[in-house]
């Protein structure tokens, strides 16, 4: 039941995308998000969507899985769309006389509003899909490796990059363990007749205590044990540590890098030549 949480879950298959350098994938995601906001018309978005579609096909992650991530933010998407339909009336520069389709007090639906909200919805969906593709195709460990490597320059200003990466990877590593633990504790309390999913709000909050308390205790216990285990192996942090898996930039990464550059160039060119939004 708890394992159905889809956001940020690794999908274990072997593919071109899975083998890419995590650093490149992180840079790709950032650049992709920037490109989404640079794109000023549907052609620009179409280019971005095509690239993402291509990436999904190459990654062997089933489409159903990918869209489950979108389902998670469905409310946000709909909320944005509705808000824009009713309140966006078109930019005066591009829409000299916004064609009003429907009006009621302060609510006004214009053609520009509808087009713009469709535009926003596509942008949001692409954004969420691309982010979840990163976590579907990259293990948490290599993700933090990538982040650590990308943040290395910050060491110059004495920012504890290695420690930050360690905290992140421990946190990520423990999510599934704590989820299992939660499920186990929930089962134990259900076997003692706890009604965890019925009753009013007050009752439900009270019903959570028998699960939260043992979970908290076990998390603290685990933290203690992990600390001891690290001490026992003389863990001293940063500096002299080497990596088990060295990150290397290969021909695959070069191809994707060129693709990314081409995509951004395409989006910029489309913005300059076609300019007008929509």
């Amino acid at each position: 039941m708890l394992k159905d949480v889809s956001f940020g879950q690794y999908y274990p298959v072997d593919s071109f995308v899975h083998r890419l350098d995590p650093r490149l994938k992180i840079v790709f995601l950032i650049a992709y998000i920037v490109a989404l906001f640079v794109a000023s018309n549907f052609y620009g978005l179409a280019v971005c969507a095509a690239v993402l579609l291509f990436a999904i096909i190459c990654s062997h992650v089933p489409f159903g899985k990918v869209f489950r991530a979108v389902k998670g933010v469905l409310f946000l998407v709909i909320f944005t769309a509705v808000l824009n339909i009713f309140f966006y009336n078109g930019d005066a520069v591009y829409w000299n006389a916004p064609a009003v389709l429907w009006e009621w007090h302060f609510l006004r639906v214009t053609q520009a509003g509808i087009v713009f909200s469709v535009f926003l919805v596509i942008r949001l969906v692409l954004l969420v899909t691309c982010s979840s593709m990163l976590t579907y195709t990259t293990t948490p460990v290599s993700l933090t490796d990538g982040i650590e490597s990308l943040l290395t320059p910050l060491k110059w200003i004495r920012f504890p990059v290695h420690e930050l990466a360690l905290i992140m990877s421990i946190a990520l590593r423990f999510i599934p363990i704590l989820m299992d633990e939660t499920e186990r504790i929930m089962n134990a309390q259900k076997a003692r007749g706890a009604m965890l999913d019925s009753g009013g709000l007050g009752k439900r909050i009270k019903a959570v205590i028998p699960v939260i308390m043992p979970l908290l205790l076990s998390a603290l216990r685990r933290a203690d044990e992990l600390g001891d285990a690290m001490d026992a192996r003389c863990y001293m942090g940063g500096k002299t540590r080497t990596k088990y898996k060295k990150l290397t930039f290969t021909w695959r990464d070069l191809i994707v890098f060129l693709l990314l550059a081409a995509m951004i160039a395409g989006v910029v060119v489309l913005r300059i030549y076609l300019g007008a939004p929509l």
Binding site: V13, A188, R192, G193, A194, P210, S218
Partner: protein, 298 residues
């Protein structure tokens, strides 16, 4: 209550790369009054099986899903038909107590009394009267061998390891379930603690719970205590036999990656030297037969 499972199958995370078949066509009957043992490797399906017994894992009830399973699946616990979606799972859970591995990690309340009372209050039809609740909690705490006056006001986290486990067991048996299922009840205890827990279970079996089912890795525990034992492997049941007949299959058990009791090992070593001893693999019986044998020789 009689427990009857026929053609029971279960798959975790169906239709995902994590799909794992946990139970495959399991058929098993546990009679009322038994002290039943379940043996198996990690991942053999034994935990999945016992979680079926009080509806923590349910048989998919929609027709579409059931078609994929064997349609002749039967799972009955006493009068409860667990294959039917209309089953009263609350009543079922009241009659089938479940003690998970390391039950001390389920303690949460401020006092031992509150923690033990938790299950009783949950299952009570209406709010129990104070004396009634106190009676039930007192007898449960005394049943597990703790001193009621000394512990009832303590925080459960101030108890020692063995006491915590007893308190947690009290929290399950407080409703006097007819069937008590325990997953590795003696795990992580020292030899004396193990022995005490097993004695405690026999007492509960005699006085409160008609049927006791234990899951265990420890073959000595099974051979010493159980009337019958089922061997799970890769989601199927390989044997259901009394220990005296089960541990004759030493080679087969080893092939399944399982250990055999110390008594069986001794018998095996003696047999290799040409001394045939047939015993029921309890330590007492083996010692008696060995002594009798020595007297015969001398």
């Amino acid at each position: 209550m009689r427990i009857q499972a026929e053609h029971l199958s279960y798959v975790y995370n169906e239709k995902s790369p994590f799909a794992a078949r946990a139970l495959n066509d399991v058929t098993l009957t546990v009679e009322e009054g038994e002290f039943f043992g379940i043996i198996g490797h990690t991942g053999s399906g034994k935990s999945t099986f016992i979680q079926h017994l009080n509806g923590l894992i349910r048989i998919p009830s929609s027709l579409k899903k059931r078609k994929k399973y064997k349609s002749d699946t039967v799972l009955r616990v006493g009068d409860f038909d667990l294959a039917s979606p209309k089953t009263d799972f609350r009543a079922l859970r009241r009659s089938v107590g479940m003690v998970f591995q390391y039950p001390e990690y389920q303690l949460f309340a401020e006092t031992v009394f509150d923690d033990v009372a938790f299950g009783y209050k949950n299952f009570a039809a209406e709010k129990p009267r104070k004396e009634e609740l106190e009676d039930a909690v007192r007898s449960a705490i005394e049943m597990v061998g703790l001193d009621y006056a000394a512990v009832n006001d303590l925080s459960p986290f101030d108890l020692s390891g063995g006491q915590k486990r007893r308190a947690a067991i009290a929290g399950v048996i407080v409703t006097k379930p007819e069937v008590l299922v325990l997953d590795e009840p003696a795990a992580g205890l020292d030899p004396l603690g193990k022995q005490e827990i097993m004695q405690l279970l026999h007492r509960i079996h005699r006085e409160w719970c008609k049927t006791v089912i234990i899951v265990s890795h420890d073959m000595d525990e099974i051979s010493e205590n159980c009337t019958r034992a089922a061997v799970f492997s890769e989601g199927t049941v390989k044997y259901v036999l009394p220990p005296a007949e089960l541990f004759v299959h030493t080679d087969e058990l080893r092939e399944l990656g399982l250990d055999i009791p110390l008594t069986a090992k001794i018998c095996e070593a003696l047999r290799r030297r040409g001394i045939e001893i047939s015993c029921d693999f309890t330590a007492d019986d083996l010692v008696r037969k060995l002594l009798a044998r020595r007297e015969g020789i001398c």
